[in-house]
Amino acid sequence: MNDPLRQPGESRFHGWLYLLPGMAIYLVFIFYPILETIRTSFYKWDGFSNNRTFIGLENYASLLVDGQFLKALLNNVTFIIFYSIIPILLGLVLASLLGRKPLPGLTFFRAGLFLPQILSMVVVGVTWRWVFNPTFGPLNMGLRAVGLDALAKSWLGDFTWALPAVGSVGTWVQYGFCMVLFLAGMQRIPNDYYEAAELDGASEFRQLLHITLPSLRPELGVALITTIITALRVFDLVYVTTRGGPGDSTLVTGFLVYRAAFQQNRIGYATAVATIMTLVIFIISLVVLRFQSTEEQT
């Protein structure tokens, strides 16, 4: 875009006046702390003494050997299945089944499907802690009511089941979003494409593969970025439901940062985890954006 012509008597830097207040707050309270986080990750510090020693990459080295970080990272990756892959698949299935036909009342369904997106994750966590409650939670009560007492368990306190239980809350939060997103995208695809395909005798599945999926590429990009980032950032939900337990079975990187920095006073270690977490989110965002923009050119 060309710069608009300058107005008479206007300084070259007139635009900066408009940037100044917003940018100043951003730089002081967001950007500078990011740089500080990175810098601190090369130090050993307990958070309150003046005794801050430079230790180079030692924090990063201890991340790789102590098991906690790798465990947390692995749990985040597992959460990608629950937060991203399952919701996207469910969204695609629903959108391809009912995407093209006009459906009166869709606005109502859309509003309901979207609901978990606007709720505080603390509220979501409180709700699901109740659902999973071993004695008076609806899930176990339902299982007992149909005679499946053996399946009733302490979902959030179980070493095997806590992670899938918390993960499925993520699926509950995200699938409506993916459905709404893909349904919106389907409206854009011209009907002729499908009519032509039907004339050629292409099956529903082939239509999904060759028309629907390629046309939904922008929506797939948005869905991938937002759900993967959410899976990597999980904190509130884990804090409220399990605090990373039992043991470290639902530990995620976000909770590890909090625990190391604010409960164990291991500031260097915590900032190293935060730095890696940011870097991973960053790289994934760029890769997906890149993938999208190259696809658009073809």
Partner: protein, 276 residues
């Protein structure tokens, strides 16, 4: 539509209803629980309450101190929304329509914050605020949240101003409008849908924000609603009606805004805003 066309839609409605019920049932159960007694709760989660009792809401509000949390959340959220939308309008206007030397560096610099998780910011921020004696103050909750919101707001408003009709801007300049007047008299009224979307998104993010408020506040009376609810649940987790009432107090205002401005929420979040 003809009868046959309606009948063909039935499987679609069944499918949609099924997916909708999975989302709504836990929420409906929670709403019911908030009005029940302790003994009623264990009879069945989806049984409507025998009568509408507001005891749990009263207890959460007074004994649970949700009245204070509510006040704190309102003060923080309103301040952040007003400041962020105003400042993002200015930055978006500058990046979208004004000559800005160094735009190629400044614009990406600003957008960086949009991808960054609060985890990457909160540790130095805590020590920084602590050093200035600002922890346990509204400033510690408001200023960083403005910083983060302006980052997304800049992206959002810049794309609006870039698509704004240039003839209008030029005509305004010919009529002798200053840049400032052209923004507020001509462009801002046009930006209403974009601004409303930004308002509801920033409202939602700030109202639901958890980590920052958890870290910055030690004084119980300064807690916001989500942090208040998290501690409340630690203490009363066995009292389902009380927990449910607390959760509904936290969710109430955002639900109200959602019902009124649903279109703007959905548009904004489909545009790629990440759930915080």
């Amino acid at each position: 539509m003809t009868r046959r066309a309606w009948i063909r839609l039935v499987p679609n409605y069944i499918l949609l209803t099924l997916f909708l019920l999975i989302i709504l049932l836990p929420i409906i159960g929670l709403v019911f629980s908030a009005f029940k007694t302790d003994t009623e709760v264990i009879k069945g989660p989806l049984m409507p309450p025998a009568e509408l009792r507001f005891d749990s809401f009263e207890r959460a509000w007074t004994v649970g101190r949700f009245n204070l949390f509510f006040r704190n959340s309102v003060i923080v959220t309103i301040s952040v929304v007003i400041a962020s939308v105003f400042l993002s309008t200015l930055t978006g206007y500058a990046f979208g329509l004004l000559p800005v030397p160094g735009r190629k560096v400044l614009y990406p610099l600003m957008l960086l914050g949009y991808m960054v998780p609060f985890e990457a910011v909160v540790i130095p921020l805590y020590h920084f605020m602590n050093g200035m004696d600002l922890t346990d103050s509204y400033w510690a909750l408001i200023l960083p949240q403005i910083g983060l919101s302006v980052s997304f707001g800049t992206l959002w408003m810049t794309s609006f101003f870039r698509s704004a009709p240039r003839e209008l801007v030029d005509a305004a300049a010919m009529d002798g409008c200053t840049r400032w007047q052209a923004l507020w008299r001509i462009l801002f009224p046009l930006a209403r849908p974009a601004v409303l979307t930004l308002v509801v998104l920033v409202f939602m993010w700030t109202w639901n924000e958890f980590l920052l408020a958890l870290v910055m506040v030690q004084d119980e009376t300064m807690r916001t609603l989500p942090v208040g609810l998290a501690f409340f649940q630690g203490r009363y987790s066995a009292n389902i009606p009380l927990m449910a009432a607390g959760a509904l107090i936290v969710a109430g205002p955002i639900l109200l805004v959602y019902i009124l401005f649903q279109r703007y929420f959905i548009r904004g979040m489909l545009g790629g805003a990440v759930k915080g």
